[in-house]
């Protein structure tokens, strides 16, 4: 296992930007996820690390060794492709054995390692099947075993779960994470599923338009997004444009005054108030600081969502679904309510119009 360092990596396709000035390091045994909307440059980044795509400028280093000019087949990365990319004319075992063969292992050595790898992904009983005789989840695990068995310096995953159904996805997510931690794999993963990113990654890189917006732990990004884009991308978020009124309040463009403690460190260009729905408390009646009217109540099982209107503006609050008898249970649309939150929780962030 190695440390991956990406320096000022840039890829342009003609005049259009694929990736622009990406700086990132993935430490030994760490799993970093690239997260962002479609077309933000995630795959492009991964392909440059794997060596399938020459960068326009910048460097890729494995353990301080500059591999930027090294062809893909000499880089010893282990990649799991979105489409799995199994060799259709080879059995599961031969797929797994291919990388070992390229490394010059003899048949006997290969056999042991193939067996080990297939056991790791719990597919020993299907070793002789051709890819087309396997289910999507099974193919996915063959691809995983194939990438792992060569003991890669860097483990690369391109949306490895996107072809699986929701239930299997949650299961395989845990499996991959457990394997990655057990084997101590330095991993760069691409996803546009925020839940996947939040649950699997040690650190996240949120990208947009080929540029990094923020790098940090899932918690950091969730609780302290640097801008409205990140706030919105890593989870649901109320974002209200406006200006800071004073040290204790934010005035929205609709004139609403929202309590917030300015803790310092906000960017000068902060022009929006960001607050996650589950951080908002609802109190029936109009005794509180922020008073509005219930516009809609949506039952979502364990949680219930309340849309509260203040003139033209709305805030969404999500609370655990109340038991009968609790004050919130009696709430109906058009009732007056007050909203409150810990004043240290909201973030003032810049919102770029896009």
């Amino acid at each position: 296992m190695a440390q991956l360092i990406i320096e000022k990596l840039t890829k342009r396709f003609g005049t259009s930007i694929g990736v622009e000035g990406l700086d990132l390091s993935v430490n030994e045994g760490e799993l970093v996820a690239l997260l962002g909307p479609s077309g933000c440059g995630k795959t492009t980044t991964l392909r440059m690390v794997a060596g399938f795509l020459p960068p326009t400028s910048g460097r890729v280093l494995f353990d301080r060794e500059d591999v930027t000019q090294l062809p893909a087949y000499k880089r010893a990365t282990g990649m799991v492709f979105q489409s799995y990319a199994l060799f259709p004319h080879m059995s599961a075992a031969d797929n797994v054995g291919f990388g070992l063969e390229m490394r010059g292992l003899n048949a006997a050595e290969r056999k042991t390692k193939i067996e080990e790898a297939l056991k790791l992904v719990r597919l020993s009983h299907l070793a002789d099947r051709l890819p087309r005789q396997l289910s999507g989840g099974q193919q996915q695990r063959v691809a995983l075993a194939r990438a792992l068995v060569i003991n890669p310096r860097i483990f690369l995953l391109d949306e490895p779960l996107s072809n699986l159904d929701a239930k299997l996805r949650a299961e395989v997510r845990l499996e991959i994470r457990a394997l990655q931690q057990r084997l101590g794999l330095t991993t760069l993963m691409v996803t546009h599923d925020r839940e996947e990113a939040l649950t699997m990654a040690d650190r996240l890189v949120v990208m947009e338009g080929g540029r990094v917006r923020q790098i940090g732990t899932p918690q950091e990004l969730y609780d302290s997004p640097v801008d409205a884009f990140v706030a919105d991308f890593v989870g649901r978020c109320n974002i209200l444009p406006g200006r800071r009124a004073d040290e204790r309040q934010f005035r929205t463009s609709g004139g609403l005054l929202l309590p917030v403690d300015v803790i310092g460190g906000e960017r000068d260009d902060a022009n929006a108030f960001a607050l996650r729905p589950e951080r908002i408390d609802i109190v029936p009646g109009d005794a509180g600081e922020v008073r509005g009217r219930v516009q809609a109540i949506t039952y979502m099982g364990a949680q219930t969502e309340y849309v509260v209107a203040f003139g033209d503006e709305t805030l969404v609050a999500v609370r655990p679904t109340p038991d009968a008898g609790e004050p919130l249970a009696a709430l109906k649309p058009n009732d007056s309510v007050s909203l409150q939150w810990d004043r240290k929780v909201p973030r003032l962030v810049p919102q770029t119009s896009s």
Partner: protein, 274 residues
């Protein structure tokens, strides 16, 4: 499924099925006719036949031109396939994978022989060969080499067409995966690309062979004494006699082609390729 008449058929379904049956009948009727008449005892075909016999087969065997024609056709088809398929495959790779200007033009150019009537191409080649013989001072027309060169023109477009199709359907990610696992570009080609193109190439070889084997129009002007292909030999026979001997020869030809298709189908499912 076609003939499983369960329950009521709508008029539309009925019409479609009838159409399919008629289409097959139109396609197969002449073939069946040839096979049947080859066993008729009399010389001028009439129904019902006075008796069945194998004498036309015996007659065909007694004529050396048919056997020699068969051997020549076989040789030419084999050589044209052996030359045309690798060339066509290389061209297909260049067309699909290459990054140069004029790929589309190259593709059209290589497929062109399919669009030119065989007699026209044959006449053109004849004149070209005459010219080339003058310049090079050696025989070209009426030689096996000349014939093989001409038939290679049949193999190339078929190969380009089939292999391009199989390359376009090929998942590039599998090749990248192989490179990712440490395979050099050449190894990737040999171990991944080529096997994935296999069915396209096998089908191309089969079609090239058949195209050459049964070709008449392109070959007519290019054959010479002792270098007569089977279809040309059959045409020559027809100039003097009309009897079921030709039907017997044609039946043998059909059987050989059929056998080739059955054997090929064991290696690649033709229905998937074509």
């Amino acid at each position: 499924m076609l003939f499983r008449f369960t329950g009521q058929l709508s008029f539309g379904q009925f019409a479609v099925r009838t159409l399919i049956v008629v289409a097959y009948a139109v396609i197969f009727a002449p073939v069946v006719m040839i096979v049947v008449t080859s066993f008729f005892a009399q010389e001028i075909v009439s129904f019902p036949p006075p008796g069945l016999s194998l004498k036309w087969y015996a007659n065909a065997l007694s004529k050396p031109e048919f056997l020699r024609g068969l051997v020549t056709s076989f040789q030419v088809a084999l050589l044209a396939t052996a030359i045309g398929v690798p060339l066509g495959t290389a061209a297909a790779l260049a067309i699909v994978r290459g990054e140069f200007r004029g790929r589309q033009a190259l593709s059209s150019f290589l497929l062109a022989p399919l669009a030119v009537p065989g007699v026209v191409a044959g006449s053109g080649l004849y004149m070209f060969y005459v010219l080339a013989e003058d310049l090079l001072d050696r025989d070209i027309k009426a030689t096996t080499e000349g014939l093989v060169a001409a038939h290679t023109l049949l193999a190339i477009p078929w190969t380009v067409r089939l292999v391009v199709a199989s390359l376009q359907g090929l998942d590039r990610a599998a090749e990248e995966a192989a490179a990712n696992l440490g395979a050099s570009p050449f190894t990737v080609f040999r171990r991944i690309t080529l096997p994935m193109m296999r069915s396209g190439i096998v089908a191309a070889a089969m079609f090239s062979f058949i195209q050459s084997f049964e070709n008449l129009d392109l070959s007519m002007l290019l054959v010479g004494p002792g270098r007569i292909t089977l279809p040309v030999a059959m045409l020559n026979y027809l100039e003097f006699r009309i009897d079921p001997t030709l039907a017997a020869v044609a039946t043998v030809q059909i059987m050989l082609v059929g056998l080739l298709m059955v054997v090929t189908d064991r290696f690649v499912k033709l229905s998937r390729v074509v």
